[in-house]
Symmetry: none
Subunit: 223 residues, 2 copies
Amino acid sequence: MTEPGLPLLGSEARVGSGGPDAAPSADRTPGASISAGSDAPTAAQFGAQVGARIRRLRTERGISLTDLARRAGLGKGTLSELETGQRNPTLETLYALTNPLGVGLASLLTSWRPAGHAHGVSVQGEAAGAYLLDVLEDTETGSITEVYRLTVAAGPAYVSGSHGPDVTERLTLISGFAAVGRIGRLQEIGPGQSAEWISDSEHSYQVLSGTVVGILLITHPRR
Amino acid sequence: MTEPGLPLLGSEARVGSGGPDAAPSADRTPGASISAGSDAPTAAQFGAQVGARIRRLRTERGISLTDLARRAGLGKGTLSELETGQRNPTLETLYALTNPLGVGLASLLTSWRPAGHAHGVSVQGEAAGAYLLDVLEDTETGSITEVYRLTVAAGPAYVSGSHGPDVTERLTLISGFAAVGRIGRLQEIGPGQSAEWISDSEHSYQVLSGTVVGILLITHPRR
DNA sequence: CCTAGATGTTCTGTTAACAGAACAGACGAT
DNA sequence: ATCGTCTGTTCTGTTAACAGAACATCTAGG
């Protein structure tokens, strides 16, 4: 601690105005995270994010604050101030919320930012986009693989242009159902399933149902 | 809260005696769960797990308790009692540890083993092992997928024990050649290729040539 | 208008998480 | 043996997270 300005939410640690979660840049390229991160959110900001996320999860499920507090065995005031980012919750408190909300701790704490767009997968509507997790290089073959967490919102298919014959994409779904791949040769996949294609022609990502989240690997030769 | 016996670690919330990670009930292994009533760990057990995990991450990195406390801006006593499971840490406290340890919050809190060694893939030499990139949750099915960057050094095969029938692993290689999967049904893969197996029996990772780097997805039910 | 029954926020006293000091062991060096 | 420096644990006073009550705010329904 030590840090002076900590009284969680000193002034404006606002979180989500319009965007679903609106998180800053927490863990860029994790591999390089030793860097005395200057762009990592402060503890206060992070706390406010977590609070906002809890409130969102609660309202999505249509349960009232009072009710959630009761189910989790928390005081109303505790939950209220937690959701508004005025409290620095205890692990026990967070843990108590996971069951009533039906999510794991990871969902409460990982910033789920729709990162705008990485690599041309543009944001469509809200809560869609790709977040770059890592970049790996095969020093022998010289190929580079980018690892993204891909989120696609329901709606019209996103169509991506050709990236050339040397670019391979592999998508493994975590949740939802989607039809992905080269146009004319779409592959339908669900949670736990994968699709793979070469991006030498137009390809698309189309949500069939649910919220589509997956891990996308894009491999291409070194530039 | 409400629950009376909460003063974290009332008496015996012991976590790990000897094993590599000393994972308690949380991880499947059907027969072995301590489970009093439900099989979800209590808040106290969970806190003790988190503490043990922090201590392991710290010692793996060869930093002393005093040093880590200083780097994280925490009091020594705080960290000591946290690691021994006698405290119920604050989100802010946990967050302060992520940067000095070079891991994300998810690594501290997910009951799976985080960076260092994922899954019995023990660290050998330096720069070998698995780095946790992300944790994704399918809120519908409740399954959790952890995304690792896996690095395996040449040498004897790493053998990992069974993780139960609910755990699926998917490895996509970026570089190198390896034989992976369940023992007796090893699959040989190279850059750009994938292997998938269910971890209900012993499985191994064996480098055939080159430096093996890949993306490993581990999917298991919540908690 | 006034209740009745929700909602979420602010207040109040208790309890425990916190920083840091004091402490206890273990090891090396002189 | 007696420092000196490291380790991690236990102690002490302060601050804040907590439960729950009191308080607001809103929307019916009569």
